[in-house]
């Protein structure tokens, strides 16, 4: 029933992103917590998780979440992100026709959480999907953000014998969690 989401999903999956969609914030939260457990997130080096708070966490007791998932922190420092397997951040916009996420990455936590860990979980309001790049760049401009990041699928290279290999310097998995209830930034 939402052609923009369908297009986004097709395009993003074509570049090896994983796309999920939930109606409510609670469903999305449950999914993320289950995901962190399944990935074995724990209080050990390279097994931790960092979470850059976004509107998904509004009104959520973060201390309780951190208790539920040992190794999960909301204090996103370079060291914490580097020691993490999973980085979670909220993303403001998406582009359907290329399967791209667009975010104001000037806050350094957002860059650390999406660049250093092996897995990046991106939380996106379903209503924030734009049809194309011109529409997305009409919503975020260099005058508002000193570091705009566009992310399309996981990090990749074909530098050795042109064989596509996922996960070089950035994450090897990009897990995108759309949440209808978060509305959008249209």
């Amino acid at each position: 029933m939402s052609p923009l989401f369908d297009t986004f999903k097709t395009r993003a999956e074509a570049v090896s992103a994983e796309v999920h969609r939930f109606g409510t914030r609670n469903e999305a939260l449950d999914f993320i917590l289950a995901f962190l457990r399944a990935e074995g997130v724990a209080d050990a080096r390279e097994s931790r998780a960092v979470w850059v708070a976004g509107s998904l966490l509004d009104g959520v007791d973060r201390e309780r979440l951190a208790e539920q998932i040992p190794g999960l922190t909301f204090q996103v420092t370079q060291d914490a992100a580097e020691a993490s397997k999973v980085g979670i951040s909220q993303i403001e916009w998406a582009i359907a026709d290329t399967g791209t996420l667009v975010t104001d990455a000037a806050p350094v936590e957002r860059r650390l959480a999406s660049a250093l860990p092996v897995i990046h979980v991106a939380v996106v309001p379903t209503g924030a999907i734009q049809p194309d790049m011109p529409a997305a760049l009409a919503r975020i401009h260099p005058s508002q953000s000193g570091y705009i990041s566009m992310i399309t699928g996981p990090s990749r290279t074909a530098d050795i014998e042109r064989v596509l290999t996922i996960g070089v310097h950035g994450p090897s998995r990009l897990v995108i969690v759309f949440v209808d209830e978060l509305g959008g930034n249209r």
Partner: protein, 717 residues
């Protein structure tokens, strides 16, 4: 060409890893690129890019000033210099002032252009490239062989070897494991570096932003983790407005790697916070290094429209054989030849400009609309002018213009078989007819040239004699080697009720001279031909050689303009208006109902080879197929029908080591169709392919489209 250069070509074309990887890539690229551009009007897109970048190239100083003001207003420091050494010193000082010991770099061609790494390393710093391919090449102590895929010339075994040395541990040639190792090794370097150096794909004057496009994610780390970030930006990366990044971001990933978008696009405007909360020490270096000079030269300004996608390399039939190292400098391939001539010096392009076979493949795919083959010819002209022509060359061009003497010499050469020593006089003839080739047989030079046979043709104009006459322009190959093609043309045109005249004063079209940079000779040819062909009032000037047709229709004017002979341009235009290639004329006559091709039952199965000039310049790829189909020939398309056969006029003599493998691919593609007739509209291609099959022994006939149509008319009479 120097022995060293010839040797580098020889070792490249005999490097099976290299040619294998590049060959497979070029085939996959063509398919991938087409898919990536589905639903996009490429012509419209590249017109926008050419406008945006062309206008920027015309206002470099202005845009640099606006960029500087806006970037500095946001807190970046901008350093602008025309001098590469000043750029190196600026970055070195900055590093020293900030106590930098370790530098991480994401891809920057501009830094390679000025040998920045060497300068920093000499000062005791450790500089690590972090783009995987660049790091491999750096560890190997080599230069990138491709702008987008720096290590495409290496196998995984070689990479494993290089990495094994670096980590002092025996590694298997397993690509995912090697990539993982690179991640681990380089991650440490990212975390410890005090300075990050990046390039930029676009710089936006209006906002003071730089745009960086990557797939690996290294640029995000280079611009985030170290406290100081230096972006080195060639001034040609400037665009006026933020909206101008859209067409470039649409084309660059599609053309470079056949992606809809790269994994990461970062738009940086002013310093952003460091991980510790402090603000980034951001320096943007706007580097000129002769780009300003290029912008002031009308023949080269358009080269600044390049977006560095490397698609000109990926579609080049020569590049896929030799790779990037033979170019010897930072920039490789067609555009690299031009950039080297400017960023280094004209002299440095002397040998590499000779690699261009002028097929025009790159022109079709360039998202910046850079006329690369024309610019390479202009380099050739300037080099030839600077060095002067040798006496032998001058004498040779003189003979070419004396048609009957030239024919007699060729005939003698042909009948005596190798009468001239390889290094002798005839080698300097800019004429493919004279060459001694080991990989292809030469045609027998006709006993009587077409110009003499023409007088004996009894033209039977079957319909009511129309008032229209057509002048036939033969060109060297039809005149001297393949007169039967000329006779076929006359036959077909007669059938359409047209009388053919042969202006006897016509001479060489000048293409060999022009392709050798001898523009004065080409201009002399042009003037003689214009006089000859405009003497009689004819409806059309038809040629059955696409190279000659292009010369008559386009190059005469270009040559005059290059030489400042503006007074001759009007007559060249008058001739150009009448010039038409055989197949386009035949198709037109069919459409007008003047030529009837009755579809006879199943004449023969054929395949068709597109000559470069016919398809890329004259844009006639449908016309020959249409008329051959109408006549009842059954067409089986070959793979890469529109890729050059390796002839390129005297190219096949100057660089037989490249021409031969290109021809070999063509022969294989033809044989794979299982068809035993290959049609083409170009006598040059016919000569190359016939010569190849003659050596090869396969029973494949090569026929000019005009001959096949004439055969058909014979049969249905």
């Amino acid at each position: 060409m120097s022995t060293a250069f010839k040797e580098s070509i020889h070792s490249a074309v005999n490097n099976a890893n290299l040619t294998g990887a590049l060959g497979r890539f070029s085939e996959a690229y063509r398919i991938g690129r087409a898919k990536a551009y589905e639903g996009i009007d490429f012509e419209e897109l590249r017109t926008r890019i050419a406008e945006v970048k062309g206008s920027a190239a015309a206002h470099l100083d202005e845009l640099a000033a606006i960029f500087t003001k806006n970037a500095e207003a946001r807190g970046a420091k901008v350093f602008r210099s025309a001098d590469p050494q000043a750029v190196n010193e600026y970055i070195l000082n900055l590093a020293q002032q900030n106590g930098v010991k370790r530098v991480v770099k994401s891809k920057s061609m501009a830094s390679e252009e000025i040998h920045l790494n060497r300068r920093l390393e000499e000062a005791g710093m450790t500089v690590s490239e972090t783009d995987l391919g660049e790091w491999i090449v750096q560890l190997a102590g080599e230069r990138p062989s491709h702008m987008v895929m720096p290590a495409i010339h290496m196998t995984k075994e070689q990479v494993a070897e290089i990495f094994s040395k670096e980590v002092e541990e025996r590694l298997a040639a397993d690509i995912p494991a090697l990539v993982k190792l690179a991640r681990k090794e380089l991650r440490t370097k990212f975390l410890n570096a005090e300075m990050g150096i990046s390039g930029a794909n676009i710089a936006v004057a209006e906002t003071g932003s730089i745009v960086i496009v990557t797939n690996e994610g290294n640029a995000r780390l280079v611009t985030t983790l170290p406290k100081t970030h230096v972006a080195i930006v060639g001034v040609e990366k400037l665009v006026a407005h933020f909206a101008d990044i859209l067409p470039i971001l649409t084309a660059l990933p599609r053309s470079a790697t056949a992606q809809l978008l790269t994994s990461y696009v970062s738009i940086l405007t002013g310093p952003s916070p460091n991980p510790d909360g402090s603000l980034k020490n951001l320096h943007i270096v706007l580097m000129d290094n002769h780009r300003g000079d290029m912008s002031r030269d009308p023949a080269f300004r358009e080269a600044l429209q390049c977006i560095r996608c490397a698609s000109c390399l990926n579609v080049c039939p020569v590049f896929r054989l030799v790779g990037g190292h033979v170019f010897g400098k930072t920039y490789t391939g067609g555009i690299g030849t031009i950039l080297t001539a400017w960023f280094d010096e004209l002299k440095k392009s002397e040998e590499i400009q000779g690699l261009c076979i002028q097929c025009g493949n790159c022109v079709d795919v360039c998202p910046g609309k850079v006329p690369i083959p024309d610019m390479i010819l202009e380099l050739r002209r300037r080099l030839a002018k600077r060095q002067g022509q040798s006496l032998k060359e001058k004498a040779a061009f003189g003979i070419v213009n004396n048609r009957r003497l030239f024919h007699a010499m060729l005939r003698a050469a042909s009948t005596m078989q190798k009468p001239f020593a390889k290094d002798g006089f005839i080698r300097h003839l800019p004429m493919f007819l004279s060459g001694l080739c080991e990989f292809r047989s030469l045609p027998a030079v006709a006993e009587e040239p077409f110009r003499d046979r023409f007088r004996k043709i009894r033209q039977t104009v079957s319909k009511e004699p129309s008032k229209e006459k057509v002048a036939f322009y033969a060109g060297c190959l039809i005149d001297f080697a393949y007169p039967e093609t000329g006779e076929a043309v006359v036959k077909v045109l007669n059938k359409a009720g047209l009388e053919v005249v042969f202006p006897d004063e016509q001479t060489c079209c000048g293409a060999p001279a022009r392709f050798s940079g001898a523009y004065e000779v080409a201009a002399g040819n042009a003037t003689a031909n214009i006089d000859a062909l405009l003497r009689e009032d004819v409806a059309y000037v038809v040629s059955a050689c696409p190279t000659c047709t292009v010369a008559l229709k386009h190059d005469f004017t270009k040559t005059f303009v290059s030489l400042g002979m503006t007074g001759s341009v009007a007559r060249a235009a008058a001739l150009a208006a009448k010039v038409i290639d055989f197949s386009t004329l035949a198709k037109k006559l069919v459409d007008e109902g003047r030529l009837t091709l009755v579809e006879s039952n199943h004449l023969a199965r054929i395949t068709y080879h597109d000559s470069c000039h016919l398809k890329k310049t004259l844009r006639a790829d449908r016309e020959p197929r249409d008329i051959l189909g109408k006549a009842g020939y059954e067409l089986t398309e070959m793979f890469e029908s529109d890729i050059c056969c390796g002839m390129g006029g005297s190219y096949s003599l100057k660089l037989p080591e490249i021409s031969a493998p290109i021809l070999q691919r063509k022969l294989t593609n033809i044989k794979n169709t299982g068809v035993d007739i290959v049609a083409t509209d170009c006598p040059g291609c016919a000569m190359q392919i016939r010569g190849g099959f003659d050596k090869d022994g396969a029973a494949v006939e090569v026929r000019h489209t005009a001959e096949l149509i004439a055969d058909h008319l014979e049969k249905v009479r």
